[in-house]
Symmetry: C2
Subunit: 234 residues, 2 copies
C-alpha cells in the first residue's frame, strides 16, 4: 500500500494548500475519528448530500441503510461518490471579520460505490461494523434475522483519491490588527458523551457493560471511536 | 409565506416517514441550530460534498468562501445544490444489531445557488453573518478592506424544497427482544464549548466580552447558536 494518495484535480486542497494532507496515516486517522460521513452523490442529475454512519477497513469505506432507500439503491448500482467527513474543533475569533475561521479536521474521499451482494460477506461486514463501535457487544445481542439482513443494504467504496484538511491554530491576524481592542482567540468545541440513559424496559440487574466503558460520560466522541478504530489493526 | 414546504420526490422522507417534517418552523429550527452545512453539488459530473459555515435569513441560506475556490465559483455560476445539516444527539443501543440507531436532527434543503454580486448587499450580508453568530463583535473589529471583500464570495440559495428528519427516542426493540440480557438505552451526545483560549498577542487587559457570554465553557453549541438565531427576528 502506498503511503500517500496522489493529489488530483478533484482531491487537491487548493485554498490554504498548506493545510492539505495526502498521506494515508493522516487521512485514516481523521476518518477513524468520525462516526458520520456525508455522502455526495447524484440521482437523475440532482445532487444530494446525505449524512450516514460509516466505517473504514484498510482503503475501503463502508456504510449501510435500508436496501429499499433511494440512496442505497443508487449507490448499489455503482456510482462515483464523494465521502466527506468533518470534525469541528473550535471557533477562531480574529481581529477582522475576514480572518475569523473554524478549527477542524476534514477529509474528502472519492471513489466508486458498490453493493456488497455476497450474503456471507454482508454478514461479516455488519458483524465487524458492530464490533468496531461497540466492543464485546455483538455476542450479547439477539442475532440478525434473515428478513433483517435482506432489508439491510451494505455499500463499499474503495478510496481512489482522498485529501485531509486540518486547521488547528489560533487566529492569524494581519500586522497591526492586534492593536484593535477586541478579544481574540479560540473557543474550543468537542462532541461529548453524556450520562447513559437506560431503556425503560431494561432489567434493573443489567449494568452499563465494561465493553462500553470507553463511552463514559464526559468523554470526547472522536477520541473514543478513534481509539476503538486504531485497536482493530487495519 | 406558506407554513410548510410541499414534499416532492427529492425532499420527501421515505425511510421512517413518520420522522419527517415539512413545516418551516421545524426546518428553520434545525437549520438555525447548525453552524456547519454540507453542500452537495457537482462539477463536470463529479459529485462533491463540502462542509461549510452557513446562515439563514427567512427562506434563504447563505454561505461564503474564497471567491477563487472551485466550489464558490461553481455555485456562483448558478447551480442546483443540496444543503444538508445534521446534529447528532445520541447513540441508540438496542437488543439487536438491526435496531441500533442514532438520535439526530437533520435537514435536507434544495434550491439553486447564486452569487451575491451587488457590492453593498455583499457587505450587508457579511456584516449580518458576523452579527448573527457573534453579537456586539462587529463594531470592535478592524473593518474589512476592499481587497478582502473582493477575495470573498457570498452565495445564496432560496429554499425551494426541504425536509427535516428528527429521531429522538430510546431503542425500539422487537417483541421479546428485551429478554436478551444486554444493556439497552441511549448514550447522549452534544457538541460542547470549552474554555476560551486567548490569542498569544492579546493584551492582558482585554477580557472575554459580555457579547460572547453565551459561548460559555460547557454550553451546548446548537443551543447557543439556535438561541442567537431566534433573536434575530427572521
Amino acid at each position: 500500500m502506498e503511503r500517500s494518495f496522489e493529489p488530483s484535480a478533484r482531491s487537491r486542497v487548493k485554498r490554504f494548500g498548506e493545510l492539505g494532507h495526502y498521506d494515508r496515516a493522516m487521512i485514516f486517522q481523521v476518518l477513524d475519528c468520525a462516526l458520520i460521513a456525508t455522502i455526495g452523490y447524484a440521482i437523475d442529475g440532482q445532487s444530494y448530500a446525505t449524512p450516514t454512519v460509516f466505517w473504514r477497513e484498510g482503503d475501503t469505506l463502508y456504510w449501510h441503510g435500508s436496501s429499499a432507500s433511494r440512496m442505497i439503491r443508487a449507490h448499489s448500482a455503482g456510482q462515483d461518490v464523494c465521502v466527506s467527513v468533518m470534525l469541528m474543533d473550535g471557533l477562531v475569533l480574529a481581529r477582522s471579520p475576514f480572518n475569523h475561521s473554524i478549527n477542524y479536521r476534514s477529509v474528502m474521499a472519492f471513489g466508486r460505490a458498490e453493493a456488497i451482494t455476497d450474503r456471507r460477506r454482508k454478514i461479516d461486514l455488519l458483524d465487524r461494523f458492530m464490533m468496531r463501535y461497540f466492543p464485546d457487544r455483538l455476542e450479547t445481542l439477539r442475532p440478525t434475522t434473515a428478513k433483517e439482513l435482506k432489508a439491510t443494504g451494505v455499500v463499499s467504496m474503495n478510496i481512489e483519491e482522498a485529501s485531509a484538511k486540518i486547521a488547528a491554530s489560533g487566529p492569524t491576524d494581519e500586522p497591526g490588527d492586534a492593536e484593535f481592542d477586541c478579544w481574540a482567540g479560540v473557543i474550543p468545541l468537542s462532541q461529548r458523551l453524556g450520562e447513559p440513559e437506560r431503556a425503560g424496559d431494561l432489567k434493573p440487574s443489567i449494568a452499563f457493560p465494561s465493553g462500553l466503558g470507553v463511552y463514559a460520560s464526559g468523554a470526547v466522541l472522536d477520541r473514543v471511536i478513534g481509539r476503538l478504530g486504531s485497536t482493530k489493526g487495519s
